[in-house]
């Protein structure tokens, strides 16, 4: 079965053995894989603070001012990959904003409304993964693979509307200006990864029925059930020997004084790299 004496990867076998015993037979292929369900507790927090002030500057109501403020402080963790692990991601939201307005009754039929608003959307999607990843094929990854993205979007908004009533007409005109700044930081493309993807195998993207290495029928063993379990057989072999058939990375290169993200990938034939 193993003419090149690749053998089972000891480090990967250690990782595979650390998976908990499955308990959900409705998942998996019924032979090599099975589902696993477990209880967990996640503590979510949603705090929102709202304040408003209204001021009639003149008793007649000719000049009025208002201020509105909103502060949000949310924490939303997601379930862990497996028991005892931290949340796969934790979304922190601290968006905030305020608006002020001034209404001026210039005459009984002419009104001016001026507004200024400033919001700052703040969102931190903090993933638990910050290192290169080798992905197992078609099984749940043993730890979180979620990266982090941090977004801050300040927006300033200036609005003015004039309303003028004359006979049967109500004329309105105005303007709206928005200054938007979208700042984001992410390590989603900061680490290389490797995948055990059977799609990049030589011999028609399969091991089972490939008439090559690890195909049992070549070595006098019963043939794998290619029609019903070909993919499952291939995944199991890839995971055991640690055959990385696809690698990906993203290079950050200075370009014109700024960062540019360049994608790259290596798709190779088995066995490309073994861990």
């Amino acid at each position: 079965m193993d003419p090149s004496v690749v053998g089972i990867s000891a480090p990967l076998l250690q990782v595979l053995n650390a998976y908990p015993q499955g308990n959900d037979p409705t998942q998996g292929d019924g032979l090599n894989s099975i589902g696993y369900r477990f209880p967990y507790t996640i503590d979510r927090k949603y705090d929102t603070y709202v304040a408003r002030i209204d001021w009639n500057v003149t008793p007649s109501g000719k000049h009025t001012l208002f201020w509105r403020g909103n502060l949000q402080n949310d924490r939303e963790p997601t379930p862990p990959a497996f028991p005892g692990q931290p949340p796969q991601t934790t979304t922190l939201t601290n968006s905030k904003g305020f608006a002020v307005g001034y209404t001026w009754l210039i005459t009984s039929n002419l009104v001016n409304n001026a507004r200024y608003g400033s919001t700052r959307q703040g969102l931190d999607d903090a993933g638990a993964s910050n290192e290169p990843i080798i992905y197992f094929s078609e099984v749940a990854q043993p730890v979180s693979t979620q990266r982090s993205t941090d977004v801050i979007i300040p927006v300033q908004n200036v609005v003015d509307d004039v309303s003028w009533t004359k006979h049967n007409h109500n004329f309105a005109f105005g303007g709206n200006i928005r200054f938007i700044d979208d700042q984001r930081v992410s390590n989603a493309q900061s680490y290389p990864d490797g995948q055990m993807n059977q799609g990049w195998l030589t011999r028609s993207s399969t091991i089972a029925n490939s008439h090559g290495p690890f195909d049992p029928q070549v070595y006098g063993y019963p043939a794998a059930d290619f029609a019903n379990y070909g993919n499952e057989y291939n995944d199991a072999i890839l995971n055991l020997i640690g055959a990385i058939t696809e690698g990906g990375c993203s290079l950050q290169l200075p370009e014109d004084g700024r960062y540019a993200s360049r994608g790259c990938s290596a798709k190779a034939r088995l066995p490309m790299e073994r861990i």
Binding site: F171, F179, Q183, P254
Partner: protein, 236 residues
């Protein structure tokens, strides 16, 4: 690996409108008007806005800092390190009445080599990064030097002497910075651009054994051919 990628997009949106709500009949109201919107396309903002020329020089190995040179009144060209990820306020690296330029991060990112003529002659200096109050400053060259570069392992510094020789200096950074005696390696025959302290005119291969030099000597230089519209030729 691991350096986060930062993007910063800015744009403005402008809208004006005029409309009329006309109560034409007691049971008929018409509203009509015009609205004009100008929505800018999002574009990445400037890293830094300066009142004078600012030129990028070197990235830190982790991608978190960018060294740039900026010309300032009274102090000439000075060197700054701009944090890319966190605080966008630049850090002063070297600022004297002379001109500081060509800042180069060491491979481990803990040192910066640069050119300064604060002594009256352009020399190569090394400072720690980030700067500390008593961090020190070492002159590495002797008798003049420009255009420093580090070897990939950080144990040797190269620079160009006033007579266009490639110079090499052994350096060690632990426990303190030490520099050996500069040794001339070879004549570079470097093209004299007239701006010896401006853009770098040479680089070194990762293995430290080969140099790429902008040379005025075109003898025995192989040509570079560019094929245009090659796909059409291929399809013939």
């Amino acid at each position: 690996v691991g350096a986060p990628l930062k993007r910063d997009y800015r744009w403005n949106e402008y809208e004006i409108y005029a409309q009329d709500t006309w109560k034409a009949l007691s049971n008929l109201t018409l509203t009509y008007g015009l609205r004009y919107s100008y929505l800018q396309a999002p574009a990445e903002g400037l890293l830094i806005r300066t009142n004078s020329l600012a030129v990028p020089k070197s990235w830190s190995p982790d991608g978190r800092f960018l060294i740039y040179a900026q010309i300032n009144p009274g102090t000439g060209a000075d060197l700054f390190a701009l944090p890319i990820v966190d605080d966008p306020h630049p850090l002063v690296l070297a600022q004297t009445t002379g001109n500081e330029d060509q800042g180069q991060f060491s491979p481990d990112g803990h040192w910066v080599a640069y050119t300064s003529n604060e002594s009256g002659l352009s020399e190569i200096y090394v400072i720690p990064f980030p700067l500390t109050p008593n961090g020190g400053k070492w002159m590495v060259s002797r008798g003049g030097g420009v255009q420093p570069r580090w070897r990939r392992d950080g144990k040797e510094l190269f620079y160009i002497s006033p007579d266009w020789k490639m110079m090499a200096v052994d350096v060690s950074t632990s426990p303190v910075f030490r520099a050996g005696t500069p040794q001339a390696l070879f004549d570079t025959e470097m093209a004299d651009t007239g701006i010896r302290t401006g853009p770098m005119s040479w680089d070194i291969a990762p293995d430290g054994n080969r140099f790429l030099i902008t040379s005025a000597n075109s003898t025995d230089t192989s040509s570079l051919n560019v094929i245009l519209n090659w796909r059409a030729e291929q399809e013939k």
